[in-house]
Symmetry: C2
Subunit: 356 residues, 2 copies
């Protein structure tokens, strides 16, 4: 593989370039083969880069973008009104083959809409999904969708299952256990969408479909890939983050209560730190958009320096595994060949995938 | 208030009467004014009760029921095929005014269907909701619906918000903060149902509606009442249980890793036990069905003795607060008066509410 080139929307996220530039330079320093293209207001970016010493400028490109998409802007507005946004130009670098992947901490809805417009979906895919790895007892589980699609049809959930399986295989799991999140494990449980998706997944060739899984099974590690619509996935992910923080908060309060508990707390601190590090949201930051003709990774808007670094690392991994190409082959086999209806209107054009 | 009488479906749950009878007798012993009616196969129940010494039989009635509803049985089957089930007879005791509340650990779908049939919904309520208290940083939050309704209209979510607010007031919160769970806090976020429900809640009189809340705000304690459809609520609740268990599991693994960490672990044990007790699912067990003309509490099917006791305690609290009567008054004001359309077909008949 040639050296990975990642295009970074440097203007997105709650903290903007003041967080993204240092995080990007960290990545550049830790990966000697990595190339970055920072996209945004060049004067701001140049100034922020100049504050750091020892930056290898031969691996860093600054691409000027006139416009910024606001965190609360409507996707339609971002699509029509801002042809020169940092987010759009970063995606165009991927389409033009000048970068292998795009990372943004910006407006999720706008990123999804622009990514579909600029990169197009893979043949057979209606809507891309957002996917991330969540920690389980002894490993991780890939969860999708995380909020890109608040309403999903059975067919879409099925596509997510197929895409999640391919992604898990690229991580080295030979036969990933795919499951649908539901309110019970019996066939009669759930809404029409999950019941329909379950029938489709049962029929899919070479897919290790396990049936329904409940919320507790997810963290027990009963599946390698868990599929749900974006509404459920988003609330599940954010409430899990909130719950871990709440538990940590309660634990700290207990460890502060008396002198004895303070001593015990101090002794237990390294272990608790380790636990927290194992579970910290930043470590699991970076959601891959699956189903596009290119690699896009969404960083949490509130991600700090460490979190953004994790998102860049995830993009580099997706490049290394050549995820869109793998998805393309598998989807062609599973989705396109099984379809008799029209295959959508925005899947025909092909973007210039970087050759690697 | 007269002494509370709780009808218990003694045959439901994963462990059946062997767990429910001892748990019920524990409750009888700890609450000297409590009366219980155990409903189920009388020979089995008599035998189980006879194993315990010192049972105050003057406060314990055994009601024979010929049939049992299986955990996987379809609700329709339970409705039509089993007129003598323990679940149904327990609900009928409430309708007849012979008990103030019913507790069951049985099949949730069947319990909801039978409760609607036997007790009827309150005027203005389309579908009852399941509600429970979940722990937050410094208190609790009432979450509904938990799985009784996998698909909810905007109007139903609105009704849940109103009912949750009344329930929170009965717990002593003067002006409960009501919020809708969503994938973002901006107005443009979410599906049509939550957007519609938000408009209805904004217009409701005397309701402290806070707008949308995300998953992390839930556990931070940003709301006293959080509303979502049953699909989301069920997955949220079960995944939270799974996550807490996963964290505990990882913590134990860390504390076992070396001699030093084992010593620290032993010292920290009382504090960790306290934390676990504060967060343990059994303590929060027991979901109230809101919107019925009678009190019904659903215990987790997998609840053990401690969990089932918590469900009986919740029912006793609901009786003490006279929850259906409070809901009736408030709903009349908020829902019925604001409605111009037909008010449903199953809300006219009235069950004999116990007078207390």
């Amino acid at each position: 593989m040639s050296a990975p080139i990642i295009a970074i929307d440097a203007m997105g996220g709650d903290f903007g370039p003041h967080c993204i530039v240092p995080a990007s330079l960290d990545c550049l320093a830790e990966s000697p083969s990595l190339h970055l293209a920072l996209v945004g207001q060049s004067s701001v970016l140049e100034e922020l880069v100049s504050r750091h010493k020892g930056v290898d400028r031969s691996r860093l490109l600054i691409v000027h973008a006139e416009e910024i998409i606001g965190m609360d802007e409507k996707p339609a507005q971002a699509l029509r009104g801002k042809p020169q946004s940092s987010m759009r130009l970063a995606l165009e670098l991927v389409r033009e083959g000048r970068a292998h992947a795009c990372v943004s901490a910006g407006n999720t809805g706008a990123l999804m809409a622009l990514a579909r417009l600029v990169l197009k979906t893979l043949p057979g895919v209606d809507r891309p999904a957002m996917m991330t790895a969540i920690p389980t007892r002894e490993g991780t589980c890939l969860l999708l969708d995380l909020g890109a699609n608040v309403d999903c049809s059975a067919e879409q959930l099925y596509q997510f299952g197929v895409m999640g399986s391919v992604a898990a295989q690229s991580l080295g799991i030979a036969s990933p256990r795919v499951a649908l999140l539901n309110v019970g494990t019996e066939d009669i449980k759930g809404n029409q969408q999950v019941k329909g998706a379950s029938l489709l997944l049962q029929r899919a060739r070479d897919l290790n479909y396990q049936g329904f899984i409940e919320g507790d099974g997810l963290f027990r590690g009963d599946a390698d890939v868990a599929v749900c619509d974006g509404f459920v996935g988003n609330i599940l992910l954010k409430s899990s983050e909130g719950l871990v923080q709440m538990v940590a908060w309660r634990a700290e309060a207990l460890f502060r209560r008396s002198l004895m508990s303070r001593i015990v707390g101090a002794l237990a601190l390294p272990l608790l730190r380790q636990l927290r590090a194992d579970l910290r949201p930043a470590q699991y930051n970076g959601a891959s958009f699956l189903g596009l003709q290119g690699i896009v990774v969404k960083s949490h808007g509130a991600a700090g320096r460490e979190g953004f670094r994790a998102a860049v690392r995830r993009a580099t991994e997706d490049v290394r595994h050549n995820l869109p190409q793998r998805l393309h082959s598998r989807l062609e086999d599973l989705l396109v060949s099984q379809r008799s209806d029209n295959s959508g209107d925005d899947v025909t054009a092909t973007g210039g995938s970087p050759s690697n």
